[in-house]
Subunit: 227 residues, 2 copies
DNA sequence: CTTCTTTTTAAACGATCGTTTAATAAAAGG
DNA sequence: CCTTTTATTAAACGATCGTTTAAAAAGAAG
């Protein structure tokens, strides 16, 4: 309990200290399970200061997510642009589209002090928490990303139905979020055979799985429609 | 608000009324977001009665999950046994293993009054809520299921490494949980193209996606190891 | 320095939380 | 009938929640 104060570096601005403390606490216990007083204490300030900087608990949650997710999405769009440049105008291979989608989340979870799998839980959980205000945040943060990636998927699958592409992109995202949120459960269920610390390995396996599932579904649909 | 009292049928035992009210409320707002007073009010009783029957809020959550998940897992094991009987001693085809895993959750979400997609959220969310007592419940509810399905996967993939089978079964489950928990977000992101009411269609698509992802990953690994 | 804005703080607000107590009502067993 | 167990209820307990108030401290600008 006392050790947690060391996790927030001193000397930084109060605003950043609050964001950092909030991220760690929300990761461990969820949004509803953390109080403003705990955040303030771990950030070495008080509750009024947190309200001064973020207006409300909702405002703190929203800003914490935006602060973390926005750079990840920017990196996703950057990787997609890079892939388009290297393909020279031709449609992208699906695996490269999914690499652009999935690699940045792994980079974000691999901090300077080694992998931080717990952060991945936070992102996954932010999609399953029932708080309605989170839906607005997600629409704002992921609308552009979703549209951009759908454009590339359509170019890569000109004969596929748009509805099928949506469904299977949804499954790819669901796989990523489900894998992120439930990451810790793999080790105990596999009897320790699979280590939950190796984030990079998981992302690599995830890319293969998602690409295969997507390809299989689209191929399956096209086969059926030809019968 | 007043309408919600009608959702719990009168005349039933108090215990069942509390379980039903808890399920509906926890589905809508999560475990931490619902109070015992709300559950009691919707069940047309009082908080002391809920504590009398379930001991605590944790006890209520645990019993509600067990009450819902246990029949689903029993049906999964039944379908797996049925598939084994029909295969006549030969290893099962992976798609039949995953059908046994995924079909029952769709049946459970399709109640007498039509599909109930919101129930699927509850199951998905129970895996991402940070409450530590949920992990014990999950281990108790899913340990046998996990082991039984792993046995069949090993029989179906005698040359595959156990670690790879664990990872990809984990991804299949993650896809299912992620798709369940984030089901509602598909319709708005697809601009209404994909309806979130059609649970059966989603399960069918999910089976294809999961089977394809699993097969692709295992095949990919075997190919690499032959190089 | 003075003036004005920004930031931090201790203390309190009203509301609501999970849980318990103790009394009463209903049901069951003999 | 009486006794014993099971079930329900109103009321209260102590704790803690998100938020606000009002005053002091720290910086910025002149």
């Amino acid at each position: 309990m006392k050790k947690s104060t060391k996790s927030v570096p001193r000397g930084t601005g109060t605003r950043i200290r609050i964001l950092t403390a909030a991220e760690h606490l929300f990761t461990a216990r969820g949004f509803a399970g953390v109080t403003m007083r705990e955040v303030a204490r771990q950030a070495q300030t008080n509750v009024a200061s947190a309200h001064y900087h973020f207006g409300s608990k909702e405002g703190l949650v929203i800003e914490m997510l935006r602060h973390r997710i926005a750079p990840i999405n920017a990196e996703r769009l950057r990787l997609l642009e890079e892939a388009k440049r290297q393909s020279g105008g031709k449609p992208l291979k699906p695996i490269n589209i999914f690499k652009a989608l999935l690699l940045p989340i792994g980079q974000a979870a691999t901090g300077s002090k080694g992998p931080d799998p717990s952060f991945m839980q936070l992102v996954g959980r932010s999609f399953t928490e029932p708080a309605s205000f989170l839906e607005k945040v997600h629409r704002r943060l992921f609308r552009e990303l979703s549209d951009t990636f759908m454009v590339e998927l359509k170019l890569s699958h000109p004969k596929a139905q748009e509805e099928d592409l949506f469904w299977n992109l949804h499954f790819v995202v669901a796989t990523m979020l489900g894998a992120l949120a439930n990451h810790r459960r793999l080790a105990p269920f596999s009897g320790g055979l699979c280590k939950d610390k190796d984030v990079a390995e998981m992302i690599q396996r995830l890319i293969v799985f998602a690409t295969g599932g997507f390809a299989s579904s689209i191929r399956n649909i096209e086969t059926n429609s030809n019968q």
